[in-house]
Symmetry: C3
Subunit: 139 residues, 3 copies
Amino acid sequence: MKVISEEITMQTNCCNDLVDITDQLKKILASTNLKRGILTIFIVGSTGAITTLEYEPGLIKDMQELYERLAPINKHYHHDDTWGDANGYSHVRASIQGSSLTVPFDDGRMTLGTWQQIVAINFDNKPRRRTIAINIIGE
Amino acid sequence: MKVISEEITMQTNCCNDLVDITDQLKKILASTNLKRGILTIFIVGSTGAITTLEYEPGLIKDMQELYERLAPINKHYHHDDTWGDANGYSHVRASIQGSSLTVPFDDGRMTLGTWQQIVAINFDNKPRRRTIAINIIGE
Amino acid sequence: MKVISEEITMQTNCCNDLVDITDQLKKILASTNLKRGILTIFIVGSTGAITTLEYEPGLIKDMQELYERLAPINKHYHHDDTWGDANGYSHVRASIQGSSLTVPFDDGRMTLGTWQQIVAINFDNKPRRRTIAINIIGE
């Protein structure tokens, strides 16, 4: 049994940038030579999120529209009174979507469906360099 | 310390079928004889989700009404322009609810509340045979 | 490699009480002397939730307003017909927010952002003593 820490860093765009990180995660998993276990993906920072999605342009727009219904950009947020950084909607969207995902792997492969990708989201109101912490436990 | 891969496959109904999988998970955990660790439950496919819920008919309806408020069936989805399979709402609901859950266990039992069940959801717009990947790490 | 079970119990207030448990989790992690692994946090009971949030008074209000948009207190819930305990909104909010979070740690520290706290939420319609199950796996 081994426990391995890894990290992905990447540049993301403003506001509602959904990035498919599945291939990077597959490469990291393959490099460990582990066969069976779990891979935990955690986005660092309170305006980012992780989820699974069929990553195609239509659904990306549909998710962005969902986030706009949940926490509209033009609404007033109390957070913006606190810091004046105008990203209250970013925090609210990130906290309801969630920052963490744990995926089993077996025979050296994550148990994803064919059209099920792992997606990191930058909700912040500016482009951000984002860090994603990865932990793999298995044998 | 051991790491064990398991799987549940089951037939589900159309659209918003919430299925209580707690008893199946308890049996799987008991069969491992592990006392302390974590159990990760991951639904395979991008129109399914996992959550916890007091599984009773009233709350099942309440959750279905929540999903309808979040992503109405009769709304237009860009995903349906892409593939024409009319299940845009299924994907959106699945991605906001989430595909993964990790539950600690101790003394051989999951740390669930008395009225807290683990529920798998088929959001797809047709009955589906669904696979749920299970990973157990512990001692 | 070790696997450790811990627990936090705490008194919470009614309805939408968000409690920052980050410092308690840091102390628990430090007491294990583990350097690398994952920490799983699971709230026991079907009217509680766990998420990450920049824990400041403005955002706490913003999240409470989000929960009110998602599942208004004054709406009719089928759950309340079942049990008459008038906390249907509490269950719905808890199930969409989620009961579980897994966070990697490395060099003995959780991979949290500077303004990213771990928050437990009591959605129930009365003050509650809540239990949070913690599992730590690592080396």
